[in-house]
């Protein structure tokens, strides 16, 4: 699918197939077209070209039928601030034409599941960001969606809330739901996602399971050095130009065996001013930066 705004493509030729039952991550820098892609998936934006099939249905033709079976948590909470979480859930349940008893029953389950019960009857504007986010997720779960779409679910949340949300998402996934999420947190993607795609400039630039991507694109171990940027070239020559990333004076080298690499660095004359920062497993963030560039990209 493809989406243009006034000639400028937000999503250019995005071709993706997500199998049912997985947790799928859509990663990319700000402005990469992630939110627009999600909107086309649940049918609140129409592709300029191409089409989107959800549950085998063309979402542009059958938006009601598709949206009955999915739930969406928007990037920004869209809550009714003067109402309580319970009333927000009631209002939202009616959007799905659920019966009043079914709504009440589901509200009880969701207040429990997302640990909202203690604040269920306070006005939303009195709740912390963590509570508001959990309520937003609860709204998207009212209709027991087969597909849950989350646009940056944990942005701006404290570590404890993030951990508890991850655990809830894992429980949903174990219950058979398909989850599609965007995130800027690579640790989140690494921990939650079975499969992911990295998009840049509206196109998929890498696709696979987090571990596979790391293994195929970089190497399992990373060595971080602090060395004046002007000397990076000489050191890399000595080491026969292995995979690396540089940002200012910080140089990160990737290898199968970090211990052997460390020895080689220590023997290299060009590295006499190098200071070892860390030896660590390569992570998704390394892959992300290698693919999308460490430079600041255009904001969205």
């Amino acid at each position: 699918m493809c989406k243009r705004f006034g000639g400028k493509p937000a999503v250019a030729d995005l071709d993706l197939e997500v199998p049912a039952g997985v947790c799928f991550g859509l990663l990319g820098p700000n402005g990469a077209g992630k939110t627009t892609a999600l909107k086309m998936i649940y049918g609140s934006a129409l592709p300029s070209a191409g089409r989107v099939l959800v549950f085998g249905m063309d979402v542009a033709r059958e938006p009601r039928a598709v949206r009955r079976r999915l739930g969406v948590t928007l990037q920004e909470n869209a809550l009714i601030e003067a109402l309580s979480p319970r009333d927000n859930l009631r209002v939202f349940g009616r959007y799905h034409l659920m019966s009043e008893p079914a709504i009440e029953q589901r509200i009880g389950e969701l207040l429990e599941f997302l640990e909202l019960r203690s604040h269920a009857d306070l006005p939303v504007q009195a709740l912390s960001g963590g509570f508001q986010r959990r309520l937003s997720i609860a709204l998207s779960l009212l209709n027991r969606p087969e597909l849950l779409i989350l646009d940056e679910p944990t942005t701006g949340l404290d570590p404890a809330v993030r951990l508890s949300l991850w655990e809830r998402l894992r429980a949903l996934r174990a219950g058979g739901a398909t989850i599609l999420l965007t995130t800027h947190y690579m640790d989140e993607a690494e921990r939650l996602c079975d499969d992911l795609a990295i998009v840049a400039h509206g196109k998929v630039v890498a696709r696979g399971a987090p571990r596979e991507l790391i293994a195929s694109l970089l190497a399992p171990q990373a060595l971080e050095l602090e060395l004046p940027a002007a000397r990076h070239g000489a050191l890399l020559n000595n080491l026969h130009s292995l995979r690396h990333a540089a940002s200012g004076d910080r140089l990160t080298l990737y290898a199968k065996d970090a211990a052997a690499l460390l020895d080689a660095v220590r023997r290299a004359e060009s590295a006499d001013a190098a200071e070892l920062v860390s030896v660590r497993p390569t992570n998704l963030e390394d892959v992300f930066l290698a693919l999308t560039g460490a430079h600041l990209s255009d904001g969205d």
């Binding site: 705004f5 909107k39 649940y42 609140s44 934006a45 129409l46 938006p63 009601r64 039928a65 949206r67 009955r68 739930g71 969406v72 928007l74 920004e76 869209a78 009714i80 003067a82 109402l83 009333d87 009631r90 209002v91 939202f92 009616r94 959007y95 799905h96 034409l97 709204l139 998207s140 209709n143």
Partner: protein, 255 residues
């Protein structure tokens, strides 16, 4: 896509749920506004006017003010409130993650604005009745005209709101459109007695004129064929503007 009534009602109920929390604060000014107008214009200015349109000035004034109350009730909902829901609170964006379609959002908002107009106008009507300016029977006749006036101004307002890029433009709508209508639509003086020649026909374009005339006839229990024209005008312009709004809504809400 055509609007579906159950989904439109779900949208309506969203606004109603919020209103239930705030109605005590909202409804009080609705009672004070008519009392203030009737006191200042009817009792105050009216003391210097022996009669207007064949009745006391306060009796001339009351039906027009009921129509204006309905106009205001609908107008605030579909301008400032709808714009905030559309652009700042992301209400419509969140509705569109459910089976609700843009046309359902539009229908629900119009229904809600019409409801608010009926509440506003109904309050005014009740005060007018308690004041002795309209008999209970004629008030009953006048009541269905408030949703008609509401529908008309909901349609005009939403057609405007869907097209403007910035919330600041509503001040033009209120001061350069609604305010002149308020002043020159038969509310304060019989417009056609002040106009000459073809201007009488030009004035028929003013949208508020028609609900005011319908309302005054209901208050007085009089009938004239021109009321059919008034009714046709209100229904036809509402239908036309809603048809236009339905086309624009999809484009505006589905970026």
């Amino acid at each position: 896509m055509r609007a579906s009534l159950p989904y439109a009602l779900a949208v309506w109920r969203r606004n109603f749920a919020l209103y239930q929390r705030t109605w005590k604060l909202n409804i009080l000014p609705n009672f004070f506004e008519p009392v203030l107008y009737l006191l200042a214009m009817g009792v105050g200015v009216g003391a210097y006017i022996t009669e207007m349109g064949g009745t006391s000035y306060i009796a001339f004034l009351a039906p027009g003010l009921v129509a204006v109350a309905a106009m205001n009730g609908a107008s605030f909902e579909v301008t400032y409130n709808a714009f905030v829901r559309m652009n700042f609170e992301k209400t419509y964006e969140s509705m569109l993650t459910t089976p609700i379609q843009p046309e359902d959002v539009l229908a629900g908002e119009i229904l809600w604005a019409t409801t608010r107009a009926t509440l506003y106008g109904g309050c005014f009507l009740l005060i007018a009745m308690l004041w002795g300016l309209v008999t209970p029977l004629h008030a009953l006749l006048a009541l269905p005209i408030t949703p008609l006036a509401g529908l008309l101004f909901a349609a005009i307002g939403i057609a405007f709101s869907l097209r403007i890029p910035s919330i600041d433009l509503f001040s033009f709508y209120f001061t350069l459109f609604l305010m002149p209508l308020f002043l020159f639509s038969d509310v304060f003086f019989p417009l056609e007695e002040r106009l000459q020649g073809a201007w009488i026909y030009v004035a028929e374009a003013l949208p508020l004129l028609h609900p005011v005339r319908l309302m005054r006839s209901a208050f007085q229990g009089t009938w004239s064929p021109v009321l059919l024209w008034d009714l046709a005008y209100v229904l036809a312009l509402s239908a036309l503007l809603l048809a236009i709004a339905a086309r624009v809504t999809r484009r505006r809400l589905m970026a």
